[in-house]
């Protein structure tokens, strides 16, 4: 390797899995969906170096693509949308009626989010988003999907046993609640507008946004009110 691309970056977080300098992550039974084959790091390095030598890729552009989804585009975008919808009824009405255009006004448009539909959770309707065939996900508002969303267990079970999946992550739904599972089989992308938790009437839009989680915007969890022992 030429080493000139400086891939061994400093912004690696402490929760990374073992990588090329520390042996192989193959034997990590706790993360079967992350565990790379033992030679995969070498293979990707070789691939990048070959494509770079041919002038087909610019490593600086690769860095920029990665940085975009690690630091700029992520679920904080969606959280801002949700908080705004909670405090601004007019915005919420437009967001639900014409999601793509309303999100575009905030700058949340682009790849894997050319057409977005926002789905409102209510006490009577619980929406849950999945892509059973691959990993379709609304990138401009949520960033790249988490491993569990792309995993075989979620893709298999979300459509067949959504209540079971929800129960496992702590959401128990009554028999009177209608669960709507949205399988993203086409180029429409779905964002769940979760219910605003009770006891948050006095919070600012910014404080509300801080409560909104990625998983609530996929529909697998609820947004919890802030509290000492929640």
């Amino acid at each position: 390797m030429s080493g000139q691309h400086g891939h061994d970056d400093e912004h690696r977080k402490g929760h990374d899995h073992p990588h090329e300098h520390e042996g192989h992550a193959t034997d990590d039974p706790a993360h079967p969906h992350n565990a790379p084959l033992s030679d995969v790091q070498l293979r990707v390095k070789a691939l990048e170096s070959l494509l770079t030598e041919k002038g087909l890729v610019d490593p600086a552009a690769l860095d920029e693509l990665i940085d975009t989804y690690e630091t700029k585009v992520g679920p904080r975008n969606g959280a801002r949308v949700v908080a705004k919808a909670w405090v601004d009824p007019l915005f919420k009405r437009r967001l639900l009626a014409d999601s793509t255009a309303t999100l575009a006004e905030l700058g949340y448009i682009g790849r894997q989010g050319e057409d977005i539909l926002v789905l409102e959770n209510t006490p009577k309707v619980h929406n849950l988003v999945v892509c059973t065939l691959c990993s379709c996900y609304p990138w401009p508002v949520l960033g790249l999907p988490p491993v569990w969303y792309k995993s075989a267990p979620y893709r298999a079970r979300a459509v067949l046993d959504p209540r079971g999946v929800l129960r496992e992550v702590g959401v128990e739904l009554g028999d009177d609640v209608e669960v709507r599972v949205w399988d993203s089989t086409a180029e429409l992308r779905y964002l769940v507008l979760p219910e605003r938790p009770p006891g948050t009437e006095r919070l600012t839009e910014e404080a509300l946004a801080a409560l909104v989680t990625r998983d609530a915007m996929i529909g697998v969890t609820r947004v919890k009110a802030p509290g000492p022992s929640r």
Partner: protein
């Protein structure tokens, strides 16, 4: 194709495990694989449906045993070979032998290669699958439809679990590229996509909850009227 990627409704694959505070990527090779896929896609030798179809052809046992970005890498290698960018034998040799010490310095990126300054535009102005073609819809909201029982060997976006099942058109999304032909390089075949509501009981029998439903986005060519 009736591939392993079509997972909806399977049992026995284990629990859904949500990792707290999950990072965007778990390793450097995942970062580079993600970026290489997008950057090489920028050459527009293949479309999104072709890249999905490439990943779907990973052998089933391998697909289930490997991680998400390994699927991407597997697909990318095949796309690069098929479209004349890089024979896999060359990649295998590089992995085996390491870099050629006599190799010249890396080339300046060719005209057409994605550059750093192009990235925001690539991500923002990505071509949508939505089309303006004035194609009349075959169905309207409220229509009862049946998803076709079809089993093409090529790429398709009709999941097995809805085939032969009855649903109701919830809404018409408009006109889109048809993935089955687009993945095969046979054109866009513009047609309407609908959100079709299938009652859980219709899909799963008594194992479905009577209140619940699955909404699936389906094209005209996947649907018949009842």
């Amino acid at each position: 194709m009736n591939g392993v990627h079509d997972l909806g409704g399977m049992h026995g694959l284990g629990p859904v495990v949500i990792e707290p505070d999950e990072p965007v990527f778990h390793a450097e090779w995942e970062r580079r694989t993600f970026a290489l896929m997008l950057a090489m896609g920028g050459w527009r030798r293949w479309n999104l449906d072709m890249s999905r179809f490439a990943r779907e052809q990973m052998p089933p046992a391998e697909y289930l045993a490997s991680s998400y970005y390994e699927h991407w890498l597997w697909g990318l290698e095949r796309l690069l070979e098929r479209h004349g960018f890089l024979p896999r034998a060359d990649l295998d040799r590089r992995v085996r032998e390491g870099p050629d010490p006599k190799a010249p310095d890396p080339a300046e990126p060719l005209p057409g290669a994605l550059r750093r300054d192009d990235v925001p535009r690539l991500l923002r102005n990505h071509r949508a699958a939505r089309l303006d073609d004035p194609v009349p819809p075959q169905f309207k909201a409220g229509d009862v439809v049946v998803a076709r029982n079809m089993n093409p060997v090529g790429h398709t976006r009709i999941p097995r679990y809805v085939r032969g099942r009855r649903g109701v058109i919830d809404r018409d999304h408009g006109v889109f590229i048809f993935p089955d032909t687009h993945a095969a390089g046979l054109g866009r075949k513009p047609q309407h996509v609908y959100s079709v509501r299938f009652a859980a009981r219709e899909l799963w029998g008594p194992d479905g909850h009577p209140q619940d439903a699955v909404y699936v986005d389906l094209w005209d060519d996947y649907l018949d009227s009842v």
